[in-house]
Amino acid sequence: MPDHDLIAALAEGRLDATEAATAERAIAADPAAAAMLAAHRTALTATRAAEPAILTETERRDLRASVADAVGLERSPQPAVRRRAPWAAISIAAATLAALVAVVPLAGLLTDSGDSAAVTFGTTEIDDAARMTSEESVPPALEGGTQGAESDAIGDTVSTTAAAAAPAAESLEERLAAFIADPVDLEQSRVSPTSETLCGMEASKHIGAPLEDLLYAELILGDAQALVFFRVTEGELTMAAAFAPEGCLLIDSLP
């Protein structure tokens, strides 16, 4: 009778091919061991098929609030009702800024400076790029946010430089309008979040797509910050979710 450890190891797939073949032969010759192996495999198949149990955003928010309250932690007051940011501004900013990373001719924008707004893709900062999202578009929930505090959590690094020539344009707003009128292939601007990306898990759950299918932009507007995850289908922004980095609270989503 093969020992239990061997049967368990075989069922779990921890043996190399040679060991597994030897174990299979030994176990096959012993009906009791074969039955035991079958039981292990049945149980493992069942338990491994279990999808992750996850909290809903409401449960997550309530849990954090109740635990914080129970331990006497003073946290920033959470809005009872989800505040809505002007999604149009954020989605336009996210899509446009994602395009900025990929589209070299627009790198001329990068040389602009003097505005506190910035967007970070990985380690790339694009000054002025978020100017089109006006100050009033900053979600109230984000005011006083933790600018840059979580930038290390971003997995991908996209090196974008301002070296390429860019056609001159009169203003940022005009360049933005040009983007909207003639969208670039956003797929090429893929900046994929990783499992280490802050709020990535929440975004994946909310959008209902694996992280690798999403694009990601970190939006910094003055003192506020939003982590924007979005999905592009046939060049169109189809789904998106923006989170405040602190607590990964959903700011807004599309649709």
Partner: protein
Amino acid sequence: MTDRAETDALLVERYLRGDVEAFDELMRAHEDRVFAVCLRMLRDREAALDATQETFVTVFRKADRFAGRSAFSTWLYRVAVNTCYDQARRRRRHAAVPLPETNDPVDLSADDGFRSAEVRPEIAAALAGLPDEFRAAVVLSDVEGLALQTVAEILEVPVGTVKSRVFRGRRLLAESLGNLMGPSDTPIREANA
């Protein structure tokens, strides 16, 4: 010590200094897994939420006693499992409200609108049929994928005991799922006695 364990240890230190962000980060890093363990242990969403909350409250209240000899997560899951044991015992004592046959339906009224994926009902029922200590071992090892050594530390039993519990738990689970085929060397009831 793993990166996660080191990060957690630093976060606990920051939390003890009153850093609210450290609290949030610890919650964010572990709340889903603690909830998952509790849900599989208790099979009831509300009970699992209660147990998850109780676990974190306990851990944060006693954070100053976390000596860092083991990973924060090990300590956290130990508290979670013990909390679930206590909950299960309390619920059995109040057996007027029977354990549900299936998981509670997902709260579709939640404004966020996504469904939480959970273990299939027949698997949940089979897991629920395991003795508590077997269920804990199977959940931590096979469902959550933790190493046997980690499970042993969480359950505070020798690794050999974990192996035995997982081994027997799987057999019971397979039997419960109706797929235990062929003869066995030891009758399960006897092995479980």
